[in-house]
Amino acid sequence: MIFDIEVKISLKEGMLNPEATQIERSLDLLGYEVKDAKTVEIIQFTMEEDSEDKVNEDVVDMCERLLCNPVIHDYEITVKAQ
C-alpha cells in the first residue's frame, strides 16, 4: 500500500520565533495589524508499506532523529492511504 505522509513542524509554545515577529512587523508596514503570527514547516513524502501502524512508527522515528529537534519543536503527523 502507498501512503501519503505529511509532517508539520512548529516551534514549541512560548519559543521566540524571530521570523514570525518580522512577518508581523512587515505586514504592519503594509498597513495590516496582525498578532500571534506563527510559522510552520511542512514536509510531504510517500512510503510503500503493508501497515499504517508501521508507517506511523517510522515517521515518529524520523521526526525524533532528524526532521525535528525535540528541544524546540512540536510535530504533527498525518498519514493517508492512497
Binding site: 519559543m15 521566540l16 524571530p18 521570523e19 532523529r65 532528524l66 526532521l67 528541544v71 524546540i72
Partner: protein, 214 residues
C-alpha cells in the same frame, strides 16, 4: 599530534582551521564526512560553514553522518573535540553538548568582532586563559542564539565556557556562546578562533584554543 578537520558539503572554514592548527604546532588532516574510522587522530575540529545548506536546521543533516559515529568513539577515548560555529551547531544537534544554537533574536547574519569572557578554564581549549579573562574573537552567524532547558544543571556541572561580555549580540540565554560536555573535552563555540590567530587579522586570542590540542 594529528588533528582531524571534518569536511561536509558546505563546510567553508576548513582551510582557515587547518592553518590555525598548524600555527599552534599540530598537524591538520582533512576528513570527509563518510569516514567512520578516526582512531588515528589525536583530536578533531568540526569547522564552520553551511553543511548541507543548513537544510532543516543548521547542523541537522551533518549530525547523522558516518563521521559523527567516529567522533563519538574518539570522545569515549577522551580525545578533545572542538566544534566552531556550524561545528557547534552540529555538536548541539548530536547532543554531545547541552542545548542548541537557533535563529538570532534579530534574525540577521551577524558578522563582527566581539568581546568574550572565558567562564570556565577546565576545557583543554580554554586552559591557557584565566577565568573571567576577556578575549577578542569574531562571530559570523545567523543561528547562534543559545537555548537550553537545563541551565541550572549546566551551571552545576561547570559547562558554560564562553559568554559574550557587556553586549549580547544574538539574544543567547545568559549571553552563552560556548558550552562543553560533562567531561570538558568537547567544546562547542559560535565565535571563530581561527579568524583570530595572527596579528595581521587583528587578534591572536584564538590561537590558545588550538594550542589546547597539544
Amino acid at each position: 599530534m594529528k588533528i582531524g578537520v571534518i569536511r561536509f558539503p558546505g563546510t567553508n572554514c576548513d582551510r582557515d582551521v587547518a592553518q590555525a592548527i598548524a600555527l599552534a604546532g599540530a598537524t591538520p588532516e582533512y576528513i570527509w564526512w563518510n569516514e567512520e574510522n578516526l582512531t588515528d587522530f589525536d583530536g578533531i575540529v568540526i569547522p564552520g560553514g553551511f553543511s548541507y545548506g543548513d537544510y532543516l536546521r543548521a547542523g541537522a543533516m551533518a549530525s547523522i553522518t558516518p563521521v559523527i559515529d567516529g567522533i563519538k568513539v574518539l570522545v569515549k577515548e577522551e580525545k578533545p573535540v572542538l566544534g566552531i560555529c556550524n561545528g557547534a551547531q552540529i555538536l548541539g544537534e548530536i547532543g554531545l553538548v547541552p542545548g542548541i544554537f537557533i535563529t538570532n533574536e534579530n534574525p540577521k547574519f551577524n558578522c563582527e568582532w566581539v568581546d568574550l569572557k572565558v567562564s570556565s578554564t577546565r576545557t583543554p581549549f580554554t586552559k591557557a586563559f584565566k577565568k573571567g579573562q576577556k578575549v577578542e574573537i569574531p562571530i559570523a552567524h545567523a543561528e547562534g542564539r543559545f537555548y537550553t532547558e537545563n541551565i541550572d544543571l549546566m551551571k552545576d556541572q561547570d559547562q558554560i565556557v564562553l559568554q559574550f561580555k557587556d553586549r549580547n549580540p544574538n539574544g543567547s540565554m545568559e549571553a552563552i556562546t560556548g558550552v562543553c560536555d560533562e567531561s570538558g573535552l568537547v567544546l562547542a563555540m559560535m565565535p571563530h578562533p581561527e579568524r583570530a590567530c595572527e596579528e595581521i587579522l587583528g587578534s591572536t586570542d584564538g590561537l590558545n584554543f588550538f594550542k589546547g590540542f597539544l
